[in-house]
Symmetry: D2
Subunit: 282 residues, 4 copies
């Protein structure tokens, strides 16, 4: 099976090498890996069984996101060179892009929406958050009072990893089910609604809830010594101006996997893309 | 707040004591605990803010399940003595019973259907299963090759507990998402569809999937040394006759929480019932 | 290399099979394993590069401990059949026996005195103790208040295993160093000298200290609900008569590895014997 | 009880605050903490029940190590102001200094030689090492192939912490006892003597052995991608010139506790000093 991989950040190069090791014949452009032959899209796309773009596939809606390539690659070109029925795999495609490819009978598959990717990305995200906490705090994670807001994929893995490091971990949750899950995982839990009453108890707070939990009122209850690390994607869970006004030590940590562990993040993408290909018998 | 608690197995007595410690005024019948005053339903139910029955609430569909009470307590009597709007909490009520109480405007609430109870019950279930394995195997759990089929609430907790004991744990799953979740939890995983090819590799197998995975064909691939512990509720996941024919060591472990840890199981019921009462401001 | 293995309990048979799998040519007597050829000592010992006896090697000081053999095997016979320089490996040999073999230039090596055996035996000992606690307690290990007295090999492994199961574990120690070691292992600690003040706080107590910690005074401070499991070898750490008088639930758990996991215990012996043989280039 | 604390790095200020919280009346000089009253040695030392210096107590053998104090404090002054029988606690005192104080009947106690301090310091050391690995590696610790050389206090804690983070951990050891201890701790082990045959298998190597294990020959067997973090104190375990010549990514990480977690390191010193004082009924 032949794959053509176009653009993307450092993760995509490692993903390409992973797919090559899995037995795929891989070529591409803008990957920064000597091990992957470079050919132009005009040659690569028509000869490929599947095309893979980066994450995001585009930033401007017009050109393929390809920071390591010196030139512009129109997304429209990818569509035109693709054959009906041959899939294009990409990350974070908008509805508009989906419609454009669908109109040409090119199956556009967003690997970034796959659940296994979200599960696996919790690992580099949590490690990146812990690395930040280690750098910024004058204390060890061992023994530190840690609050994790939210008990989704990232919250779960982060909380249990902090506990494995010896931290004193509390998770803020809203459902009796999640209080129970915390308990059997050896974690303390607190009602999210009652957070303002205990938010001053912690040395470090990791927010994973993608809404404005840390508004001015919540921030006014915090101690200045407490480090606040926001893992929620845009618009984030913290009122940044209020945090600054109160002198809160605040870090907005976005897109950690690609930043702190591009090779591991690339292997996670590799595994996800391979699952998609295998489900299509590619 | 006054509670009247009627019947049930050993767990219900411990539940009653737990609710008493939480500050409720508790009386009951058939509880086997000296600490709970005994009064008859005719007096207890009308005076109570809520009535609590055991799990199951009835076995014959007619009388309250009350193995520690020498006499018959018709379920109909409970309904008649209950006041409209005052809740009756019970475990595993059938649709017919729900309808009967609804027709009298008595809210019937099945605490056994609550998610936090299912989460918490994974603990005594897993410990009970591990106790059986310890008793039946000539080897330690440490280092034992363990297969856990299914990655639901029990499968997850059981697998991670076996790993914590030093076992070599594999989980059989069906979704890429669950393979990923196993990996980040430090567990091996295998496709359920490919189980028959590796089922002879294990020292002990814990089944948590409530359908007939272990049919004659699967059993024919097992080694006789392997211990098979079935945690699936009726009808179970194992063809019992075939297991016997193949000489497989087989244990069907039903309703473990009440058997292996009635006090802990009672405290779990207590917490669940208290959550229900608090949500109703009782 | 040829080994001749004589007598011993169920562990020795599993040890013999393990050594066979490692590549040794193994024969023996009184092993109860079909896989090991049976020959008499008169033939087996002179032809062997090393002889292995059970643990203990003798109970009466005169005959080889061989419960699965219908007959008496004088220890003196082993000595007479052994060649100078060819080692005899055994468990728990007295000074008198050592002297007897030394006088014939037969190296007698006590494998039971090896440190790696003591380290590895902590695993079946701890699992056996936990199995007893699971059987005797009406609560789960998860959440149970556990006291472990002593922080030697067994205490360390037992305490960390109980913690891995979710117990609330306290260890009684005497040195600042051990308090520190408990803390970094996530365990609470208490001064052994101050034990009587908190001994009523626990659901289960595991004693690993081989001296009379649990005398009448200490026992008088315990609750009757608390389970006391004594893992100390003879004479044990508990005043048994006082325990009975106070109605304390008491279990003296001796020689757990051979009882609860003979196959694993045999593999541990196998590994220890193999280390000894390899150090002697056998 | 009155303590006078003189000089030292950031840890000593946190130690002073900790001792204040424990109930001691603390004054000092060169501590950089607003909470501790500053007085000169001429006043502070004669009025104190014990004097505490930093770690090391001196760098030049003549003056007290006091980087936050603008001036020179002769060690001889401390000795002259001290009263016979009143202890001086310090870190890393030479034999010469010990003799000087002994001649004046001033008990000089080296808190840095205490075992509990060595045990507790393993935590910030391990976390500091992991922080470096997180920063320098393009992969997550989860899944990383890690080698820890040596299984002393730091090696043990570091190896088990890496395992808790999901790493694939191997420890190099030399005794059968330590191979056994690794196994029951869930760690792989390799003979230190056979290290050169497998040193290319790892993504990161943490050296804790204070002798030249990583000489030119060992380094010649390593991959350039492998990160080598040396935790051994001077002269370290790595031939630095050879490492540079082979292009090995090498980090010599000395005195991590004070660098990565001065507050936690100070609390560890506080606990150790308090233990010493309590043993002297101070």
């Amino acid at each position: 099976m032949k794959l053509y991989i176009l653009g993307g950040d450092a993760r995509i190069g490692f993903m390409a090498e992973g797919l090559q090791r899995e037995g795929y014949t891989v070529s591409g452009l803008g990957l920064m890996r000597d091990t992957i032959p470079e050919i132009m899209p005009e040659e690569g796309i028509p000869g490929a069984d599947a095309v893979v773009l980066g994450v995001p596939c585009t930033r401007d809606g017009q050109t393929v996101f390809a920071p390591f390539y010196n030139g512009l690659l129109p997304l429209e070109l990818v569509r035109q060179l693709s054959s009906p029925g041959k899939p294009v795999l990409c990350g974070m495609a908008s509805g508009e892009i989906h419609r454009r490819f669908a109109s040409a009978d090119v199956p556009l598959i967003d690997y970034f929406a796959r659940e296994e990717l979200a599960v696996l990305n919790a690992v580099p995200t949590a490690e990146g958050a812990i690395e930040i906490a280690m750098q910024k705090l004058p204390i060890t994670i061992f023994g530190a009072g840690c609050l994790v807001t939210g008990y989704g994929r990232i919250g779960k893995y982060l909380a249990s990893t902090l506990k494995a490091l010896g931290a004193d971990v509390t998770v803020s949750v809203r459902k009796p089910r999640d209080h129970a899950a915390c308990r059997i995982g050896g974690l303390k839990s607190v009602e999210t609604a009652e957070l303002s009453g205990c938010v001053s108890d912690f040395d470090v707070i990791f927010n994973t809830i993608p809404c404005r939990i840390f508004d001015a009122e919540m921030l006014s209850n915090m101690r200045q010594e407490t480090l606040l690390i926001d893992l929620a994607s845009r618009p984030g869970g913290v009122d940044r101006e209020a945090a600054e006004a109160f002198g809160i030590k605040y870090e907005w940590a976005l897109s950690l996997p690609g930043k702190v562990a591009p090779r591991s993040a690339g292997e996670i993408l590799c595994e996800t893309v391979r699952n998609i290909l295998m489900e299509r018998n590619l």
